[in-house]
């Protein structure tokens, strides 16, 4: 049963066993505006928790996406290169950025769960 964890910078990681799917939340995509370009990491790259691993560009801003947890990149979502709009349309589903194999699942303990994240977003508005 996959569980989703959230960072304060509005990245999510949906974890099943030792694999994690990383993307940005609905709040993040609405703040960014229309996404025009996504720069993804190379498959095989080793990411540390908190390190910048991808870039998402909208018309008005460019934002670094930090890895919610450490691991190496096993797959990237090439569809975003053709159609960056998917990030706006379906951020938690088809708008995923990349998948990693977790190297230290205990890092997830420091992240927020669904309820904590929703409360956090409410506090920002």
């Amino acid at each position: 049963m996959p569980t989703t964890h959230y960072t304060k910078d509005h990245e999510y990681i949906r974890v099943e066993d030792d694999a994690g799917v990383v993307g940005i939340t609905d709040y993040a995509q609405s703040q960014l505006g229309d996404v025009v370009f996504v720069e993804l990491p190379l498959v095989g790259k080793m990411l540390s928790q908190g390190a910048e691993s991808a870039v998402v560009e909208s018309v008005k801003a460019a934002s670094g996406i930090n890895a919610p947890a450490s691991g190496d990149v096993v797959e990237i979502n090439r569809a975003l290169e053709e159609t960056p709009a998917i990030v706006n349309e379906d951020p938690l589903g088809n708008g995923w950025f990349f998948k990693i194999r977790l190297s230290d699942p205990t890092e997830l303990d420091g992240l927020m769960d669904e309820d904590a994240y929703q409360d956090y977003v409410k506090s920002l508005e």
């Binding site: 370009f37 720069e39 910048e52 870039v55 560009e57 909208s58 018309v59 801003a61 460019a62 670094g64």
Partner: protein
């Protein structure tokens, strides 16, 4: 005062609405002991007539290029600019408009920028060009930083034929950013082996053609070497008209092309304002500095233009060098576009042929003057001569005889043992009698 429309009555009304007794109340936040309550030691206002007299007096002390036989180049070139160019750039809507951030009321500016970008890409035979940079030298420095971002490496190799000012700017910018520069020694005869200078740390090779000594360089071999070694080839030019006759850098495999656009549409202006040209391969688009104008549609489906991809300028990436915040050169860019629209391909090619023909003729005449040797095997409209004396002295003597004969290499490269070399340019503005006068004066000065 003729530029200040408010009258004393206006000011009184305005102060009353604001609710203060006098104008000084609006400056109350300035610490009392720092407030200027006296007039600084500067002249008081002048009428337009007086200001004009003063400035005209200063202008009269200078020798204008158009008033004498003129052969000075080395990075800025005198060409004929059609009368309509300067007239058009002085239209209120071009001269006094702001940066086109509100696209709905700036389509004039945006459309000519789009035309300019198309022209520059075509001239250089590259995929994409930006909306211009300050000048060729800063464009070159930006290209080097871009190459570092693209390759992840941090060393630039500079040809010994690169304009010394351009090389100094690259060095200054690189030093600040903590990146290294390997500059090859002055390469008067275009003999250097740039490929051999590339190592695993090299992000780019910067080579100019026509180079500062006038030599033309075939970049194809170097392009292949760069590609094999993982470095980018940055091709530089300082004479845009050369692209009307000479094979463009894009056709020789350059990754980035930068140069000075002053020759087309813009006067000499003692060094500025000029217009930097910047073009690159499509795959490097998102690493390009500077403004970009793109085509789109408006809410009613009509074609329109907007500044685009602007987040590249503001995005700061720690692991790569930051991109510079650049404006473009507005009116200089417009002048370039208008002049090139008037020339068209046919006109530009013909203009380039005339330039080359004049330079060839001048080279032959100077070569037959005793004590003068023309060093170039190849050139476009500028070449290097060696004289049997100190070049700077010779040129000073020529100036006194009313001929501006070129630039002593020692002005750009002092203490390099090049004090007997002169860079000589000849464009379409030189008539037969100008070239004859130059040859005669040179004969007399040696």
């Amino acid at each position: 005062m003729r530029y200040l429309p408010l009258t004393p009555d206006d000011r009184a009304d305005m102060l009353a609405r604001i609710g203060v007794a006098d104008i000084e109340a609006l400056f109350a936040d300035i610490p009392a002991d720092k407030r200027l309550d006296y007039d600084l030691d500067l002249p008081r206002r002048k009428s337009e007539m007086e200001a004009q007299r003063l400035l005209s007096g200063l202008a009269a002390k200078n020798v204008a290029a158009g008033s004498v036989p003129f052969f000075v180049g080395a990075g800025a070139y005198k060409h004929h600019i059609p009368a309509s160019v300067d007239h058009l750039i002085q239209r209120s809507e071009f001269l006094t408009s702001y940066t086109p951030y509100q696209a709905e009321i700036a389509q004039g500016t945006l459309q000519y920028i789009f035309e300019f970008q198309t022209q520059v890409a075509a001239l250089t035979a590259m995929d994409v060009a930006n909306a211009s940079m300050y000048d060729g030298s800063t464009a070159t420095a930006e290209a080097v930083l871009m190459a570092h971002r693209v390759t992840g490496r941090r060393k630039a190799v500079l040809s010994g034929g690169l304009h010394p000012h351009y090389a100094e700017v690259v060095r200054t910018v690189s030093q600040c950013a903590g990146e290294s520069v390997a500059a090859l020694p002055p390469d008067v005869f275009a003999l250097e082996d740039l490929g051999a200078a590339i190592d695993a740390e090299t992000s780019c090779v910067v080579v100019q053609s026509p180079d500062v000594f006038g030599n033309l360089r075939d970049l194809s071999g170097l392009a292949a070497t760069c590609k094999a070694k993982g470095a980018l080839l940055i091709a530089v030019f300082t004479e845009a008209v050369s692209l009307g006759l000479v094979k463009p850098p894009g056709a020789m495999g350059a990754d980035i092309v930068v140069g000075e656009g002053q020759s087309i549409g813009n006067a000499l202006n003692f060094g500025g304002p000029y217009v930097g040209l910047f073009a690159a391969k499509e795959k490097y688009l998102r690493q390009m500095p500077g403004r970009l104008c793109g085509e789109t549609v408006d809410a009613e489906g009509r074609r329109g233009f907007v500044l685009t991809l602007s987040t590249r300028e503001q995005h700061i990436r720690r692991d790569k060098a930051t991109s510079n915040i650049c404006t473009n050169s507005g009116l200089c860019c417009l002048a370039f576009t208008i002049h090139l629209s008037l020339l068209g391909e046919t006109g530009l090619r013909r203009l380039a042929r005339i330039n080359h023909a004049n330079a060839v003729d001048l080279a032959d005449r100077l070569a037959s003057v005793k004590g003068v040797e023309v060093l170039n095997r190849t050139f476009f409209n500028e070449f290097t001569i060696r004289v049997a004396a100190d070049a700077a002295d010779v040129l000073e003597r020529l100036a006194q005889r009313g001929v501006l004969g070129g630039v002593p290499v020692s002005r750009l490269l002092p203490e390099q043992g090049l004090d007997d070399l002169i860079l000589v340019a000849s464009t379409e503005i030189n008539a037969d009698e100008d070239r004859a006068a130059f040859a005669d004066a040179l004969q007399g000065a040696l």
